[in-house]
């Protein structure tokens, strides 16, 4: 799972010209992933949401993380190992256009190593 993290509103600093270039680069990126059978799904996330904390009977909204960084979307990719996932993440156009962009690469747990339990696929 590639979690796209942006600091604040990084994309608003782009000019319409850069927005379009960025988008065209993204199209190439996605289409290459699809062609190689490596993309399972991708979605943007709405920036505003709720943070639930507390405990039953005393829930509250927040606290939010102090940092301005938020997850703005994800790519669910299929990679044979961490190295390949990292290579794919590095190819994401975010890095060329969005200041302070970060991508978190997190393998989805499919096998419990200690017991060899295979988790059911969430589909």
């Amino acid at each position: 799972m590639l979690l796209i993290r942006n600091e604040g509103d990084g994309k608003s600093a782009l000019s319409p010209e850069q927005q379009q270039k960025f988008l065209n680069d993204c199209m190439v990126y996605i289409q290459n992933l699809i062609k190689d059978g490596k993309l399972k799904g991708a979605q943007p996330l709405v920036r505003e949401g709720k943070m639930i904390s507390g405990r039953p009977g005393a829930f509250k909204d927040g606290p939010y993380n102090e940092s301005k960084e938020i997850i703005v979307g994800y790519y669910h990719i299929i990679a044979k190992d961490m190295d390949e996932a990292i290579t794919i993440a590095k190819g994401n156009p975010e890095f060329s256009y969005i200041k302070g962009a970060r991508i978190e690469v997190r393998p989805i747990k499919t096998v419990e190593e200690s017991t060899s339990f295979v988790y059911p696929k969430g589909e």
Partner: protein, 422 residues
């Protein structure tokens, strides 16, 4: 893949439509909504493929955002009647849907006339047109015109303020008014074009695109049926196409400006040139004789010559004589003097320069002094040439020009020492 400049041009369309909906006093609001819509599209399309009709998608987003704002700020701002209409029509598309192709085209034309309103200062008109109609960002405009973003921002703020204060309506003027206002619009387009074309430094790619944008704006006027007299529009289009055809040949590898004589004519874009000649023909059929027509004809004469030495200087001089009658500015006279010198020699050229040398705008114009120097060099008067070159270097706006002038000075010094050694 999206077509070239899709975002820029869609942005221009949407700002125009939303300005009609919000009213011209709220043009900044329209710009904000459009910027938001573009980002939203980008954020969504980044993870999926671009939809089949990206334009419709964008407009739907913009429309919803507009509706939200009108609902939310119903009592805070003054909107045009269009806003109330949009509000009442809701989601259905009505016969006069403000987002139809025809309406979008009309709104862009209204936007041109609003941006180029004579009460707005010229540099603000240019900045506002680029921002709202052409979808350029503030940093891009600043880069193209070699100024700061703060500066461009100030011009935009002043322009919007003027639209509010003067209650400049969002409409295409009618009747007699239209003819007058078209001249004002053409002036702005020509200014935009010239600023982009003649700057010697800055981002070349952007400046070439600005030239194309100026052409695109003029073509919007050309395509408008309610405008009956199109001679000047054709003439300006001809001028812009002919000049743009030489764009890539005007500079050497280091970005130094080359004179017509130094340009590699193989780099001239023949396709653009052909369009220029076509428009010149159309202008001729409309029997225009305005400034743009003469400038286009001069440019055409340069384009027609296979090499610099076979330029038809007599033709060009005749055209300059016509131009001088309409525009007696010293810069025109300076250019005429150069042409005259090609026919009658540098001595005559120098005499012409004598006549304008005390004009205030000429005294500080580096090209006047470097032209004078060229004439002196032709006549072998290198001491005189050097003193002109020193003045030229003093007023040169760019370091690159100063470097060239200094090279010329050392050339003259060499000549002098050569002569004295005999």
């Amino acid at each position: 893949m999206l077509v070239d400049h899709f975002f820029r041009h869609e942005s221009g369309k949407m700002v125009s439509v939303l300005t009609k909906i919000f009213g011209s006093q709220n043009v900044d609001l329209a710009e904000d909504v459009v910027q938001d819509s573009l980002i939203e599209a980008m954020e969504y399309w980044q993870y999926h493929d671009v939809p089949d009709n990206p334009s419709a998608w964008l407009f739907r987003v913009a429309k919803n955002k507009a509706l939200n704002i009108i609902h939310r700020e119903k009592y805070k701002r003054q909107y045009s009647n269009e806003a109330a209409y949009l509000l009442s029509s809701g989601e259905q598309s009505e016969p006069a849907d403000p987002f139809s192709e025809r309406e979008i085209q009309d709104d862009q034309l209204r936007m041109i006339f609003t941006c180029c309103h004579p009460s707005i200062s010229a540099d603000s008109q240019v900045a506002l047109s680029l921002k709202t109609l052409c979808g350029f960002s503030i940093p891009e405009i600043a880069r193209a015109f070699l100024t700061t973003e703060t500066n461009i921002n100030k011009r935009l703020v002043r322009a919007r303020q003027m639209i509010r204060d003067e209650k400049i309506p969002f409409e295409v003027p009618k009747g007699k008014d239209l003819e007058l206002r078209i001249q004002a619009v053409l002036e702005t387009i020509y200014l935009l074009f010239n600023e982009a074309y003649s700057a010697t430094k800055g981002n070349d790619v952007i400046r070439f695109e600005l030239c194309q944008e100026a052409i695109r704006l003029a073509q919007m006027l050309e395509n408008e049926n309610t405008i009956k007299q199109k001679g000047d529009i054709f003439a300006l289009l001809s001028l812009m196409f002919l000049n743009t055809s030489r764009f890539r040949a005007r500079q050497d590898q280091e970005g130094n400006l080359l004179t017509m004589g130094e340009q590699n004519r193989l780099l001239w874009d023949r396709k653009l040139q052909a369009s220029g000649f076509e428009y010149l023909q159309k202008a001729t059929e409309n029997t225009v004789t305005g400034t743009y027509y003469i400038l286009a004809a001069i440019s055409a004469n340069y384009c027609l010559a296979p090499d610099y030495n076979s330029t038809n200087w007599e033709n060009i001089l005749t055209l300059y004589d016509c131009l001088v009658e309409m525009d007696h500015s010293p810069v025109v006279l300076l250019n005429r003097a150069i042409v005259l010198s090609k026919i009658t020699g540098a001595q005559k050229g120098l005499l012409e320069l004598e006549r304008i040398k005390n004009e205030p705008q000429i005294r500080t114009y580096h090209l006047f002094h470097s032209t004078q120097a060229e004439f002196f060099i032709e006549l072998g008067e290198f001491e005189m040439a050097i003193s002109s070159l020193i003045v030229a270097a003093k007023w040169a706006p760019l370091e690159s020009i100063r470097v060239l002038l200094k090279k010329k000075i050392s050339y003259c010094k060499e000549k002098i020492s050569c002569d004295s050694s005999f």
